[in-house]
Symmetry: D2
Subunit: 383 residues, 4 copies
Amino acid sequence: MKLKLGMIGGGQGAFIGAVHRIAARIDDEYELVCGAFSSDPEKAKASGVLLGLPANRVYTSYKELIAKEKQLPEDERVQVISIVTPNHVHFEPTKLALENGFHVILDKPMTFSLAEAKELEKIVKASGKRFCLTHTYTGYPMVKEAKQFVKSGKLGKIRKVYVEYPQGWLSTFLEGDNQKQASWRTDPGKSGIAGAMGDIGTHAFNLAEYVSGLQVTKICADINIVVEGRQLDDDGAALLKFNNGASGVLMASQIAAGDENNVKVRVYGEKGGLEWQQDVANTLLVKWLDKPAEIYRTGGGYVSSFSSHNTRVPAGHPEGYLEAFANLYRNFALCVKADIEGKTPEPEWLDYPGIEDGVRGMAFVENVIASGKSDTKWTDFII
Amino acid sequence: MKLKLGMIGGGQGAFIGAVHRIAARIDDEYELVCGAFSSDPEKAKASGVLLGLPANRVYTSYKELIAKEKQLPEDERVQVISIVTPNHVHFEPTKLALENGFHVILDKPMTFSLAEAKELEKIVKASGKRFCLTHTYTGYPMVKEAKQFVKSGKLGKIRKVYVEYPQGWLSTFLEGDNQKQASWRTDPGKSGIAGAMGDIGTHAFNLAEYVSGLQVTKICADINIVVEGRQLDDDGAALLKFNNGASGVLMASQIAAGDENNVKVRVYGEKGGLEWQQDVANTLLVKWLDKPAEIYRTGGGYVSSFSSHNTRVPAGHPEGYLEAFANLYRNFALCVKADIEGKTPEPEWLDYPGIEDGVRGMAFVENVIASGKSDTKWTDFII
Amino acid sequence: MKLKLGMIGGGQGAFIGAVHRIAARIDDEYELVCGAFSSDPEKAKASGVLLGLPANRVYTSYKELIAKEKQLPEDERVQVISIVTPNHVHFEPTKLALENGFHVILDKPMTFSLAEAKELEKIVKASGKRFCLTHTYTGYPMVKEAKQFVKSGKLGKIRKVYVEYPQGWLSTFLEGDNQKQASWRTDPGKSGIAGAMGDIGTHAFNLAEYVSGLQVTKICADINIVVEGRQLDDDGAALLKFNNGASGVLMASQIAAGDENNVKVRVYGEKGGLEWQQDVANTLLVKWLDKPAEIYRTGGGYVSSFSSHNTRVPAGHPEGYLEAFANLYRNFALCVKADIEGKTPEPEWLDYPGIEDGVRGMAFVENVIASGKSDTKWTDFII
Amino acid sequence: MKLKLGMIGGGQGAFIGAVHRIAARIDDEYELVCGAFSSDPEKAKASGVLLGLPANRVYTSYKELIAKEKQLPEDERVQVISIVTPNHVHFEPTKLALENGFHVILDKPMTFSLAEAKELEKIVKASGKRFCLTHTYTGYPMVKEAKQFVKSGKLGKIRKVYVEYPQGWLSTFLEGDNQKQASWRTDPGKSGIAGAMGDIGTHAFNLAEYVSGLQVTKICADINIVVEGRQLDDDGAALLKFNNGASGVLMASQIAAGDENNVKVRVYGEKGGLEWQQDVANTLLVKWLDKPAEIYRTGGGYVSSFSSHNTRVPAGHPEGYLEAFANLYRNFALCVKADIEGKTPEPEWLDYPGIEDGVRGMAFVENVIASGKSDTKWTDFII
């Protein structure tokens, strides 16, 4: 049984919409049945044709999509809606979808503001529907392995967390050329109060908390607009304190010229440390105080069920970003289907990012930007 | 428009069948409409259900599939058939499919013998249908970049080619435990005259010829059965001569304990060299005699159209084995669709492995095994 | 002509003293002629015997060494004195040596306090003698290449600097076992106000300023004592502002369990970035916004004179930590000899760390520790 | 006590002589007392001055050096003679030195021919003097660790050995420009019957046998002269059989354009494999069939005494080529001194390459060249 999937946003030329669709297809758990790909009717229609959708399931607004789909018979109607619009069009469609009985997969950062995020949390909880926020990196098998490793206690108490996300693609004033990806990300009206911190800082933050199993409690940030003329931060770093007393450093930049997307997390405990980075995504380096470091590999016979469950091919055949993304979609589908069938989802299936990640992510955005502007050194991480 | 895809082989528990299906799904160019997944009716049926196929499109033999599909109206009928059975069931279904007007995607090695391969070549040519042999590694963007780099002449005349495919998974007598993947691969009745040479040696050989643009003309091989009790080679190496006078070394082993699938190719010309390996698949290392080595990356703004055409996400978001596989499927689909639409396929689309690769691959199998048994040093590479 | 070298500290069991002696020997510019290796007469004597020194040139205090050597005829007398004692015994012997006409090579951090450092600066300048502070990492050819690269302007204006020095060896309470290296480094009476920040933070700071050619102007630090019972910081991080407006992050830890000494620096400008780390010390990665990254290598035919001058063997034969250390000794010797011969030292020779590095390093220690204790976010980097 | 060292060859402009002298200095076990650096009296003299030798200990021929030194009082006289001349001037000076009571350190390949090598073996054995052949790579701590690892049996029976030494520096006709290093290496009158095979093939061969603990018994080689006009091989590869039934592949090339000196060895047993390469010399990768690979590191607390004995600085401070070379010199000195003191050398000290390595190395040269010319596939490895 495939779940019926709809999409809001993600019309022609959009990058992340296409990624969501590939992710949904890889494990064959979904069938795309409808979409509101664009508010421009021509563009919406063209996208629908390209995707092989019948014209009557291609809508020009999320409101129309939700209203019309709701009227369809249950066995035709969309079940899961992916929302891949810019940040300022996250909250309303998600709210409407949930309140009308649809499960939602939403691109990050979750909302335009923390207030919206907290409001959405209530809505999600009240709705009884499932909600996934696409923090892709936690979908990588070796990131999951890292989390399980920390959880196992083998490293002892966690003491230090370094996380970084250096990109270089906004090193120039791309938005001046109306480059699509750059334009909305640097526009406060569409992105919210943060640029880099919202776009990639939230990924770094989520990764740090996910792997360490800890929560940030205090923050001290340096937030910069480096490229002249830009309206939102394109670079930043933050000192962190965690709820177990550990400290950390988060770095995220979009002006690290020459860097691609090599997000990296390192976690150190009393007995050893872990290191994962996207460039060698199928490797988790486990370092020990007193014995040789070990190389854990996607597909290795020795990995945890949280890792093996999210792997498709034998070790050494690299799985990448799209498979990590697909893991979110697949686990979400397994849970929705379990719900439908009245079964209890497996712990491995439930391990997808959700509303709590989203609230914490938006809290990160607001706290890090506030800290960046503050003369006080440590500010409490407030939700 | 999606192409209608059928599959022969690849029932539950099969590894490569699932990979083909993912590859076919990733770019949404195909719709799976039928299958003969197993000769065991129960298994075939169960596989069909799992894949969401209607019962009447699930067959228990390739003959049935081809016969029944042919009778369907053209707009329902399967268009492309993927054949993912063990080697001894490659030739007949491929022949039948082609002769009945279907395009074929076939897993490697192409056939059970070189004689079959040459026969198939005639059939393919006579059929006017398209044929793809899934030499996955040539689907990687950076492998394509390597080929284009050599072709551009920037390295000067090619002088040396090293190619290797070290695996360790057959280090023990797995077939004694009836491990499915091991069993047929080590069975001369199913694999043919070669084990490792057919399974991974053909990949290495294909990669070497593809990237270098050269053809092997002479061979001198050392072929071994290392694990006691095994019936087919599980290890080998060969010295090579190419048609431009260059020399090379090919190494393939399934008893390289601890190794995964780190297939690697190095090509050296007068002015520099190239290096690609699957473990860092998104990187092509370009080395120069007199200036710094360069790191070409999947998704880089500077890569050739042959590489960028086969890339889905921005640089730094790794694409892996499944995407490489998907590139074969996608390019094949683009060509088939161009044919249907009466258009000329782009050169980038045509760059998928085909019948000539298959014939040369089977020639490699026969020549390398013969050389392994011969006391003569250099034997001509005979087709 | 070899320079006559004496050593203060570095008796049996000392780590860094032995390193200094190897560094002095590698390029044959020095002859060890005397030493005050220990205040324990037995130990001093034994060290002298081991090093093949005549008994009358082995002293039991630096005062004795300086006093007695001064009385020797000029052609016998020590010329350069290496001081490799713990931090609290840096200032006095250096002062005495300089004031008595000897050149000094001193281990880092330069002094016990910034006040001492500034005092020493005056003494060095007044003395007319040469002074070298052993910030080893700036002796690596590829670090020098990095500095020259930035200086050339090829990267455009520098915008971001990341520097890190993660070690794990103080993850446990080693000083409780009287481990020699741990004991003095964690003892405020011997190390001063800082532990990790003085020991390795100063290296990171020096590396960042050396490569970027910039100076830190503001700092915001998180300084931690992680291991229970420890008296000095064993971990820290700092946000930085530089004098051209660039920002940076410095991380140094001795509780990064499983890490060795993989000091790493990254510098980003408008057009590209540089990356160097000790684990692959012979490589400088040069990343560009719009073309393939380049791999600069120690010994490459294309490197600057600052790099090639500090290289002994052909590319690919790795030179390491001891050679980097030896480069400091060699360049210092070349300058001293040029002075003696009334020649002008080459720019490449003058490129060794000196008194200004030492003053800035001690300023770093005091500023970073003060910032760690401060509630104010950004504090001016005061000297 | 320092051993008195003399040198034959290695005058100004020679590469390897300088390397030998650094290697001898690093651990302070030697004092250079005399040399016959060149047959050109001016050059010899200048080299002596540069090295600070008294004029009467600088000779213009090895015969003079040996004759004159022999007449010196025992406590002045040279004890160990390093011979760093081109291959055709290895045998005679070594013979003369040994027969006159001097220990010898000789650069590889050992002699001009296998006949000379076997003759030298008799001379060494008759002399009662120590003899070291500088196969540098076996001086690396992690190469020694690899050997011990194999010896421990942890990998089970060895099945496969890959060794490679790709260089690119002879990609052009350098000898046409009278480049000093290229000229003698490509001159049959100075190098003997082999070029690349003698220069670097012998290193690869030695490394393979050293690490595996096995001996080659059969060989099948492809030997090429790639650069037009060259007189000796600049490229080659060989299939190998070992005395325990294992097989192997050896590759050595000097026309691998863009490659430096990244010599690499891989050894596979029944349970796992080892991988070492010079580019990451301080790492030994240990791969297992059924658990995570491990990263052994120079200086790690868990390494064998054979490795730790040959390490000077803490883990993470890379030691390189010169330290590996120094390990040969140091171990040789420790043995010579033990002999003098009537003590039994430790096993770790005795682990330096000697006459047997030299004989096998020259046998490799003759066997591999003969095999290259032969039409027979496998030829016995004859000594």
